[in-house]
Subunit: 359 residues, 2 copies
């Protein structure tokens, strides 16, 4: 049996959709790959009683509960109080945290603001977790069945604290957990029903956890299975039935797969985009090490900018800005301009008004 985990995100801004809950996604991914069985993500309001009640419920359902958000200095941050109330414990003062804050503010020749000093408190039954990437104090509480960990909601602080502090803590507290064996298959140029048809019902005779996900431009299959023999047989059969559409046997995005190929073949790339407005360049360059093969991109939003790049004006006049001719000419022009081996051109009409009607 795998241990179970849940994430409790605290914050009105998340509930009201002003902030997308990327923390839950980050923690879901990390905890699953550590070997936890994720049972729930919950988002609740900045309210001491609500936090305390939700946490009490989640502790019953999961061995590990990570609470994030609401540890800041302002009056709407009451996660500390909510967790303390859940365990009927008072908050106590951390001398160590205070002296760290004092030193930090000293650098800027300032005293610790009284608001910020709220961030030196934690529940009496907890262990403080010092945050090197911000001023909010995290903490962990050992429970009968497991562990509750509180982390700040600012994503960069949460991520860094997870890697630096939480991961070692989990390894110590849950030493026997093995990461789940996970098979990921990423495909392009094929629809979800077509993938299912080719996959075939006969494969479902073995027991495994199956998920299929259509995403813009691709379909992903994820299979969790602890038995090595089933795992290998599935992999072989999937390859035989869907191999011509598979671009990756891993959780790598297409930009990374292409980047790895370019690196291996020592080739370079440049892009010219119109409707995507820099999105493709930004995806390509977000891959670590992209500077080895990505020369750069240009956003040719206006017709005059397309012409300046080297697309003939009469070609645009004849075929229109959104045409395969102009798209190819853009690719060729940016390849020349940036002196790269490959060029990509993108044109199209991207209305911000939403999707195309299907039925």
């Amino acid at each position: 049996m795998r241990p179970t985990a849940a994430v409790l995100s605290v914050g009105n801004e998340v509930l009201r959709g002003s902030v997308v809950n990327t923390n839950a996604a980050f923690l879901g991914k990390e905890l699953s790959s550590f070997g936890f069985d994720m049972v729930a993500h919950v988002v609740c309001a900045d309210d001491e009683d609500v936090i305390s009640a939700k946490l009490r419920e989640l502790i019953k359902q999961a061995n590990l509960v990570i609470v994030c958000g609401g540890l800041g200095p302002t009056p709407d941050d009451v996660t500390r109080q909510g967790i303390a109330a859940c365990f009927s414990e008072p908050l106590i003062f951390s001398k160590l945290q205070f002296s760290r804050l004092k030193n930090l503010y000293k650098k800027f020749r300032k005293k610790v603001p009284s608001l910020v000093s709220r961030e030196t408190y934690y529940p009496r039954n907890a262990q403080p977790l010092l945050n090197r990437f911000g001023v909010a104090l995290g903490f962990s509480v050992s429970t009968q069945g497991g562990l509750v960990i509180a982390l700040p909601g600012v994503p960069v602080e949460l991520k860094n604290m997870y890697v630096d502090i939480v991961l070692p803590l989990l390894k110590k507290r849950f030493p026997k957990v093995q990461a789940a064996r996970c098979l990921i298959v990423r495909m392009a140029g094929i629809s979800e029903p077509e993938v299912m048809k080719r996959f075939g019902k006969d494969l479902f005779t073995d027991s495994f956890d199956f998920g299929i996900y259509p995403m813009p431009g691709e379909v992903l299959i994820r299979i969790l299975c602890d038995r090595q023999s089933v795992f290998l047989r599935l992999k072989k059969k999937i390859n035989r039935r869907l191999g011509d559409r598979i671009f990756c046997w891993d959780d790598k995005p297409l930009t990374r797969v292409v980047g790895d190929l370019l690196k291996k073949k020592k080739k370079t790339l440049a892009v010219a985009e119109s409707c995507t407005g820099g999105l493709l360049a930004s995806e390509i360059s977000s891959v670590p090490g992209a500077s080895q093969y990505f020369k750069g991109g240009t956003v040719t939003y206006h017709r005059t900018v397309k012409e300046e790049l080297g697309v003939p004006g009469n070609m645009i006049a004849k075929f229109g800005e959104v045409s395969s001719r102009v798209t190819c000419a853009l690719a060729e022009a940016v390849r020349k301009r940036m002196n790269s081996d490959y060029g990509i051109g993108v044109t199209g009409i991207a209305g911000p008004g939403g999707g195309t009607r299907l039925i």
Copy 2:
């Protein structure tokens, strides 16, 4: 008293963090602005019993529960079954939905695949909600205290169905709800504690719902308050105390505020980015109508591309690629190249390895 709402997202892929829950954010924003008080977002596994149990809990807490995801054609999609089980109802067949699917597949000279025909079933106590943007069938169930609505998890389908079908349904079912009065203040060039200090404790004598959110490059304050007099007084005081840092009194991002100014003054913009790799261009062009003022951008990832744009090689050699001199030269070069009124240059070192240590 405002009516309450909750979102139940179904999907192992969301639990495990392979998909970021943008649906919950979208619904949270829409439902809040409609006038609902959001009480929870919950994410649960693709499991009939779990869906049924979580829904039962949420119905007790909220007048409206929107369930999203798990309505697809594949065997891991069991939201229909989970909701039916929650109400102890069987699933029934929708002739109308089947004939629509038949017509759709006829266009491609195909029969409805047997998998897809799973998407014609809905709980007997529900009203089907036809989806014009995909094949999954939505539905709504009237409960004692309110309404349960099931929508497909594919974001574009969910959004379009919300606007087309759900919103009119809510107006009918919750006719007296008034949108909450919401004051949003977006500031740049000031830290969160500094905002709080200037805001002042004296303003908290009135009762209102207050939230402050630090975000990359800005701080946002959100105040919900139904009393017009308090609302106006707060606005005036905030303007006096923080006006020099406020760039917007609305939920508009900086790119939109700048875009509106450019449109008004009939000026144009071009950008040259290095470390941000197209992200700025993509943010700018994602604003509807950006083509009126955004000429285009260039991603000058490699030094040679910077030189080609017009930044002198000896300037790069002397000051380095990441320097204010080169950044200004980039801005000037892209302004000339794209023949725009304004140019923006961005350089820097963007390690994908995470944040900078603070303490």
